[in-house]
Amino acid sequence: MVLYLLRRILSALGILLLISLFTYAIFFLLSPDPAVLICGKTCTPERIDQIRGQLGLDQPFWVQYWEFLRGLVAGRSYGDGPSAIDCAAPCLGFSFQTNESVTNMITSRFPVSATLAIGAAVLWLLAGIGGGLLSAVKQGTWWDRGAMMVALGGISLPNYFVALILQYVLVVQLQILPFPTAVEFGENPLLWFQSYLMPWLVLAFAYASMYARLVRTNVIDTLGENFMRTARAKGLAAPLILRRHALRPALTPVVTLFGMDFAGLLGGALITETVFGLNGVGKLAADSIAKNDQPVIMGVTLLAALFVVFGNVIVDILYTVLDPRVRVTSR
């Protein structure tokens, strides 16, 4: 088990390294010269050379990439002498636009993305699993059909469209909610809650629909299996059968899916954050892409990859706990 864990973590690190290499290479090859970008309009060739030297842009690709990796692990400093700028351990460089440290930019925005992800996850797990279970148990009834129709709508509606409809109906027409604003929880808890409510609902609707469909299919499949017939033949009551025998096999795939989806959201919900003006990592990504701010793009891409890759590892570990069959084969 320890060996298995080690192997999984090592391969995850390998994938991360490859992703960083690809991302770095693509921006190295495709982007316009960052020195020109930083220098701005009032620029002289000498100044450009100076910036290049300071950022290490005059070095060949592999040296620059190596410096980037070393900065991530051990920190680095730009330039030398008294004008050198230090950048502490997980160093992702400085924004070309604002000169802020990319690490700071990401850590200061992360709580917003996490709040969004956690709130939405609670909603979608409740609605998705609950709805899926009820649909499966009452298979073929109007309740089942109605729930599945809503779920079908949920997976087909683009979330920015849902966001616009919600804003139009709740904010403009009915005026139940105020225009979404960025408020801290401490400042005004009610306004804070109101500003997160629509983003939570929009995100949760899409995921809950997918989960409800998955849970329903899985539960129906499980209910048709031989061991369920045995349980019924033994004379166990229907709710007990459902609780003791059907839930576990039916929900195991949900764990995998949830791990991946949640990990993905922690890396920033680009569209939802942009539409509602939430200052999370996703909006940071969108803004930096619009301004071609390479160090920031690089940083958010790596962060998202980190969550996805390690989300995968955690899901694998959880799987061995939940499904004894995997435990035997994975050693």
Binding site: I15, I26, G264, T274
Partner: protein, 319 residues
């Protein structure tokens, strides 16, 4: 991914007990099952209508007299910041779906033109990913060994990628060029593993079945087994995967265009139209409701059709 979660979570794991002696494809049975469902009939009718709308976009533009790029200053109220004149975003006999605020371009013409762009991108990406995914999936599943190792590792790598952020970053860094073609390439790079994974699994189980053994015993080579024994048995799966991939790509393309890295103006696409309507939603809701509804119904129709197709094919396998 922060767009609607990927719709590729398809479970087509059972090839089921195949009728002995290679029964004829139950295509007719599947079609007659599908025709009995009103939801499928409606979906197909809608898809046909959108395809016609896309194909006939230039003809329709000449009928209404408004092309997708023509400005109509008469249809907007310049004194009120350029909002369309008349109720419901300026819907009239002349402009069937109203006009865009500020510049007065005809929304109907842009919807039709946008349908063309969106469908072309989604269908092309589906074709590319299906071909690449089926070929690589079959190679990995059939030959195993190092070929499987290499292909599986590449798939793991691509599926671990934060695809949306990376697609956006890549598309924003790439030169303008031929945008739709770039979109097809980027969508395909990240899309094929989802096809290949399913095909690989099914090929692995198919290659150990009795009929493959029988073919091998009667002297068939690898190529013959792959093309005559394995591929025909994957047909149902491939059709279902492709049908359900189309709405996925339509949605992703719309999302990318919504974020401003997909189809570039002035060429319209539905996602991009919704993006330009964001600033106007309080005063002119029709501007986002029309492209949004088209997008929603298109994705919905393909999904409903794919779902039912899968069910009908599965039922046939179980029989």
């Amino acid at each position: 991914m922060s767009t609607a979660p990927s719709q590729l979570a398809i479970e087509v794991d059972t090839v089921g007990a195949s009728p002995g002696g290679g029964a004829p494809t139950p295509a007719r049975r599947v079609i007659s099952t599908l025709r009995r469902s009103p939801a499928v009939v409606l979906s197909v009718a809608y898809i046909v209508a959108v395809v016609l709308l896309a194909a006939l976009a230039p003809v329709l533009a000449s009928i209404t007299g408004w092309g997708p790029y023509t400005y109509d200053p008469e249809a907007i109220n310049a004194d009120l910041g350029g909002i369309p004149i008349g109720p419901l975003g300026g819907i009239s006999a002349e402009h069937w779906f109203g006009v865009e605020p500020q510049n007065g371009r005809d929304i109907f013409a842009r919807i039709a033109q946008g349908a063309q762009v969106s469908l072309l991108i989604a269908v092309s990406a589906t074709l590319v990913t299906t071909v690449v995914g089926v070929v690589l999936g079959m190679v990995a599943g059939f030959y195993g060994g190092w070929a499987d190792q290499v292909i599986s590792r590449v798939m793991d790598f691509l599926m671990a990628f934060p695809a949306l952020i990376f697609m956006i970053a890549l598309l924003s860094a790439l030169p303008a060029g031929n945008r739709p073609a770039l979109l097809v390439i980027v969508l395909s790079i990240f899309g094929w593993p989802y096809v290949a994974r399913v095909i690989r699994g099914q090929t692995m189980s198919l290659k150990n079945r009795e009929f493959v053994e029988a073919a091998r015993a009667s002297g068939a080579g690898n190529w013959r087994i792959v093309s005559r024994e394995v591929l025909p048995n994957l047909r149902g799966t491939i059709i279902v995967l492709a049908t359900l991939a189309v709405p996925g790509y339509i949605g992703t393309e719309a999302g990318l265009s919504f974020l401003g890295v997909g189809v570039m103006p002035p060429t319209p696409s539905w996602g991009q139209m919704i993006a330009s309507a964001v600033g106007w939603y309080t005063v002119d809701p029709m501007f986002f409701l029309i492209p949004g509804t088209f997008l929603f119904l298109t994705v919905l129709s393909f999904t409903v059709f794919g779902d039912h197709l899968q069910k009908a094919l599965d039922a046939g396998d179980a029989a």
